[in-house]
Symmetry: C2
Subunit: 185 residues, 2 copies
């Protein structure tokens, strides 16, 4: 479960509460690992039972108490080990590809509309990516070093690169379709 490792990654910078982590996820890794609030809380308590994190109760006046999670030595070892271990090749489910696979059952104009919408979605995604660097500056208080920052930015590069490659492919495909390359029934 990569959510555990991602949490360990952040806790290795410094202790955080579940509430903190939710906000950090939403402003950093949500593009490749969205995390649900309730799942973060449940995962944290599981990680505590596994001995990867310790809980420090922090009492607050006028606010509910916080549970500050500290990474343990076992947690640090688990993180290091996971980071250095190559992942098994992933299988990504893609509903879009299911639509493409059966698109022949639609009329040409419908297919074209579908791909044009897909291209629009990618452009919207690229636009969203373009403003992330600014968001990152908003949480640059978490930046521990230029080294960390390099890899944070690298995930953005990968994301944009992939989107751009997909967009180029779809745009070329739309041209092919306009040229009447889809065989008739």
């Amino acid at each position: 479960m990569s959510l555990e490792q991602a949490i360990l990654g952040f806790l290795n910078y410094r202790p955080y509460s579940g509430y903190d982590l939710k906000k950090i996820f939403d402003t950093s890794v949500r593009h490749f690992w969205p995390a649900d609030q309730s799942q973060i809380y449940r995962t944290l308590s599981r990680m505590n039972k596994e001995g990867w994190v310790d809980i420090e109760m922090v009492h607050q006046e006028s606010r509910p108490d916080r549970k500050l999670y500290h990474i343990t030595t076992a947690g640090q070892e688990a993180l290091r080990q996971w980071l250095a271990t190559p992942l098994p090749p992933q299988e990504n489910r893609s509903a879009d590809m299911i639509q493409v696979f059966f698109a022949g059952q639609l009329a040409d104009e419908e297919i074209l509309a579908l791909f044009e919408r897909a291209a629009d979605n990618i452009r919207a995604g690229l636009a969203r990516y373009a403003q992330i660097p600014r968001e990152i500056e908003a949480y640059s208080e978490y930046t521990t070093s230029p080294r960390e920052f390099f890899f944070w930015m690298l995930t953005l590069d990968v994301g944009m690169h992939t989107l751009q490659a997909n967009l180029a492919f779809i745009e070329a495909l739309i041209q092919r379709i306009r040229n009447g390359e889809i065989p008739a029934a």
Copy 2:
């Protein structure tokens, strides 16, 4: 749930049993939608309750009886509607990107090894893709038309294109790392 729609897509060609469908999935769409045997069976019985498929019991001597699933009119409408409806932008979880995000916590050589392994995985994926056209011929009995075939091949194109783009990116990255572009701690 796209598994339902994928099943409808195949049943719209002709009726199949759960056993058939498992084999068809494994030789066609597993690269973008792997399907577990038990899940296919459970999904089929759910789809039956939803009125999307009818069951024809086919008795067999010397083999267990087959349940042949026929798509209903309601099922065909559901399929058509789903195919023509643009999907909400997907969020793909990528454990690889979690590794990249926190890779700064590793030593340079470890990072390099990780990316080289990732590149190898992509090359292996490309090699697997390269032999799929042959596999597709093995199930070309299911091919209803050149039009269908066009889109089946298109999913391959997309897959290979994406892999190739990722590979090019990682190879360039490995060069950058070798040139010492990773900031020190």
